[in-house]
């Protein structure tokens, strides 16, 4: 028997202690400052996250001319909107959005790592980084989407985008029916990172919540 897959029972506690030891030592040795890491985390909590992508999608649903510009030159169209500074910054230097339609469903994957458009979507969810998703999405996308609870009609073409070079991809999902009365902000609140990477559709919120 191979003991490679045995885990220490205190696996998480050991990692937590080790990363804290590492960060403290890096501060003591002048590599980073005491606030450096908190600043990075705060940046993704308040400035660069999926709330930006959701605003972008809601605007595209409401403004067909903007949508065309967004599909044509994603990075330039994003620069039109009043986002925080940095929308073409780290992991957003070159972004491209692809549109879901009644005939086409797009799915984004990175089989070599976990390339993700930080300024519009923030940090990648675990499902996107998981080797099993990355291995299977390019081979059996319909089965994979079923496991996310998403059934794609056989008549709909699935386009899988493996982001293996320098472009960061995301999806312009379809606007759900029954949302005509919603404001731009209300529309944005419906849009999830999963819908913007192609493993979910945007759902109109149920009138009553359970």
């Amino acid at each position: 028997m191979n003991d490679r897959f045995n885990y220490s029972s205190s696996r998480e506690a050991e990692s937590a202690a080790k990363v804290q030891a590492l960060e403290d030592l890096l501060i003591e040795k002048g590599v980073i400052g005491a606030e450096t890491i908190d600043q990075v985390l705060g940046f993704f909590e308040t400035q660069m996250g999926p709330f930006n992508g959701a605003k972008l999608v809601a605007r595209a649903w409401l403004d067909p001319a903007f949508k065309q510009r967004l599909l044509q030159d994603t990075t330039a169209a994003i620069a039109e909107l009043p986002f925080p500074p940095g929308m073409a910054g780290a992991e957003g230097e070159h972004m491209k959005i692809v549109e879901n339609t009644p005939d086409v469903h797009n799915l984004i994957v990175c089989t070599l790592c976990s390339c993700y458009p930080w300024p519009t979507l923030g940090l990648p969810p675990y499902w996107y980084k998981d080797p099993t998703f990355r291995a299977r999405a390019v081979r059996e996308p319909r089965k994979v989407l079923e496991e996310f609870g998403l059934s794609i009609d056989p008549a709909v073409e699935i386009r899988i985008w493996d982001s293996s070079a320098q472009i960061r991809w995301f999806v312009l999902p379809e606007r759900p029916a029954g949302t005509d009365a919603l404001s731009e902000d209300e529309l944005a609140a419906l849009i999830t990172p999963e819908a913007m990477m192609g493993v979910a559709k945007v759902k109109a919120r149920a009138a009553t919540s359970p």
Binding site: S15, V19, L112, P131, T132, P141, D162, S164
Partner: protein
């Protein structure tokens, strides 16, 4: 041949993990933050398009650290370990190992400190602020490190059929293994030319070159087991492509 270069298409892995959180443990946020700070302080930024002047940034860090370095470390892992460890566990192993290997941190010191914290010894968080370091990190996040350089004449045009090379496997690549030896069609030629963080040797990327969006028929890749009604697209550096019909 490395498993990590050939992940796409592996079978029998069981169901996908549908976890939607970016972090599943609080500690994972800290190693993510350390990696971002390292990229923001990397000596490679001296050649970046934003004019980062690292000589004025008061950090003791004097290394090259990019996504390419992090990925190369993950690609060097034993394939069983690659599947054994969760995403940020791999980062913690790779990054702490890097700091020890480069003598920023002594391995015994890191182990002893870790043991202290595990024993519940109250950590003494150092309070030394480095505002200029934090300013450089924020500037990197906002201005990035675009790989795009001036245009070079592309060898291929939209609608050209291209054959993916089977380049020599090396420490690091951006060529997904399942595409090697397959034929696809160029659907888009990206504007400009794109460099990579460092030359990958006989693998062939590094210097600025055109990048293409190439469409593949899943049947060409997976044969009869391919699902119907799908198209597969990959962004490929020109160094990975040959005209269809050329002998590899």
């Amino acid at each position: 041949m490395k498993l990590q270069h050939n992940l796409g298409g592996i079978e029998n892995l069981g169901p996908v993990w549908t976890e939607t959180r970016p972090f599943v443990e609080e500690w994972e946020k800290r190693i993510f933050g350390i990696h971002v700070a390292m990229m923001a302080l990397s000596q490679t930024l001296v050649d970046a398009l934003p004019r980062y002047d690292l000589s004025k940034v008061p950090t003791t860090f004097r290394e090259d650290w990019t996504w390419g370095h992090l990925r190369m470390g993950a690609e060097a892992m034993n394939p069983f370990d690659y599947f054994k460890y969760r995403y940020f566990e791999k980062w913690l192993g790779g990054i702490s190992g890097f700091f020890v290997a480069k003598s920023y941190v002594n391995g015994a010191e890191l182990e002893a400190r870790t043991a202290d914290y595990l024993d519940g010894k109250a950590p003494q968080r150092p309070s030394k602020s480095l505002p200029e370091v934090d300013a450089q990190v924020l500037r990197y996040l906002r201005e990035g490190d675009s790989p795009k350089r001036g245009a070079l004449a592309p060898a291929f045009a939209v609608a050209d059929k291209v054959l993916v090379k089977d380049v020599k496997p090396v420490a690091h690549t951006r060529l997904p293994g399942y595409l090697r030896g397959k034929t696809g069609e160029v659907v888009h030629v990206y504007d400009g030319a794109y460099c990579y963080f460092f030359p990958t040797g006989p693998d062939g990327i590094g210097a600025p070159m055109p990048v293409y969006s190439v469409r593949f028929d899943p049947k060409e890749i997976w044969g009869d087991t391919a699902e119907a009604g799908a198209s597969l697209y990959a962004d490929l550096f020109e160094a990975y492509l040959l005209p269809e019909g050329e002998v590899r």
